[in-house]
Subunit: 259 residues, 2 copies
DNA sequence: GAGTGGTCTAGACCACAGA
DNA sequence: CTGTGGTCTAGACCACTCG
């Protein structure tokens, strides 16, 4: 049964076998796989070919390899991110939105944690373009967050606010207070009216891969979240970077009246 | 022999170099790269290492390898899919929605094309669950589309409708008529009120990879588009599969009143 | 120091596309 | 028939981790 399709490379067949074994529970989440050499012996091939097979599974996020050995990924269920309800005003005002990430994680039985760093910075050129600020200058307040689940990094998110709006406001403090940055913007006369999220999938940069503890062969979502006032001015751009194998995204909307 | 970072593997450095060369225009879109052996000689390494480097670029969708040689990808700009405006009722009624895909492609100077096949089928188990139909039976009408851009396949989309709704209606014909399937459902008393799209990224199956002309190391979006009536009944599930390196997704919504 | 995966090299054979 | 990338094998050295 191992020799169905002669077109299919051996390492892909081994990858299929190992994937099945993992899904089937032969190797539990978090457990250590046999060494490449042992697997090679079991499967009747050599270390290089097994390494190739395991690299396929690593790219899928199913295993992670290190000098200590190969391990089955501990996180099995993807984290669910529902953007539309996340930014729902009623939830925000009752303080639920603030814990959207936390609630999603607790639903999976995981412990959320995150760190925030605030500073003034020159945004990436393409973000500057959206915000309509000078790309070379220190023209924004940047709030950079690292989000962890069970102490595993799962998302990097940086929000940029135009400096002329955010300068000297609570948006520069670590804790933006009840309702979060969106409530603060509203108080400053820049209430957000519409939101756009653009989704891309790409390879992580070397730095991102390191910060997220992922292999460079894996992929990240890059979500560009742009909030605009009623006049159409962009007052916040948030860039979310997260491994694709850890997240599922969702959007909901009505088809009712004009929409 | 650029020996900047001893941590970074040679094949990644070569991949970086070649990526730069392609982005910089040294190799034009659609053109053929030197053979692996030639590149190996130029770079002072061997065929295997060059192959590894090019595999990285192939996984990113930047080049495609075949028995005929390695070619720079012809499609440079990603196709833009704005789901919220795509399913906007006013556009749909004026017939614009029908051409959403076509319009997006023409904006990029590409020629759209697509084929449709309709049949009654048993849906995947998880689709059956959403629709609330029997998973083992032929319980749906399935409309399978292949979408091409400049004769290159760029998306596979299959819509499932419960058989008890769609049986014997225009939903079983190749041309669903003005306004498309959504208008037909409305006429049948099953007007769609809300839509949810769930986004996953995964490896393509062997069949999908072949149908989409992509490498198995590349990734696809899987978008599960569920439309429900006001009562909450799911009346359509559409599954879209498309290579991540060819598409950018977008969603827009208002933060107004209750939303 | 032993064990592990990472990488590179070298060479061989294969299947397929094109002249 | 020839050239191409695909793959497999075998062996070597490396860097890192852990006991």
């Amino acid at each position: 049964m191992t020799d169905d399709d002669p077109r299919r490379a051996a390492y892909r067949l081994y990858a299929d076998q190992l994937r099945e074994a993992i899904r089937g529970g032969t190797y539990a989440p978090g457990s250590k796989l046999p060494t490449d050499a042992e697997l090679a012996a079991e499967l009747g091939t050599n270390r290089g070919t097994v390494g190739q097979a395991l690299r396929v599974l690593e790219a899928e996020g199913l295993v992670s390899k290190s000098r200590r050995g190969t391990f089955v990924s501990a996180i099995v269920n993807k984290i669910y991110r529902d953007s539309t309800s996340r930014y729902n005003r009623s939830k925000r005002e009752t303080g639920q939105a603030r814990g959207a990430f936390a609630a999603e994680l607790r639903a999976l039985g995981m412990t959320p944690k995150n760190t925030t760093a605030v500073n003034r910075a020159a945004p990436p050129r393409w973000v500057a373009e959206i915000l309509g600020v000078a790309p070379e200058n220190v023209s924004t307040v940047a709030r950079a967050r690292h989000m962890l689940a069970d102490d595993v990094p799962v998302q990097l998110a940086t929000s940029y606010f135009p400096l002329d709006i955010a300068e000297g406001t609570r948006l520069e403090e670590l804790d933006t207070g009840p309702g979060g940055s969106k409530s603060r913007l509203a108080e400053l006369g820049h209430a957000q009216a519409t939101v756009t999220e653009e989704i891309d999938v790409r390879s992580p940069s070397q730095e991102e891969a390191e910060a997220l503890g992922m292999a460079e062969d894996q992929r990240v979502y890059q979500i560009t979240h742009t909030a605009r006032t009623k006049d159409g001015r962009a007052v916040e751009v948030a860039v979310h970077v997260m491994p694709t194998h850890l997240w599922r995204l969702a959007y909901t909307w009505d088809l009712s009246p004009e929409h």
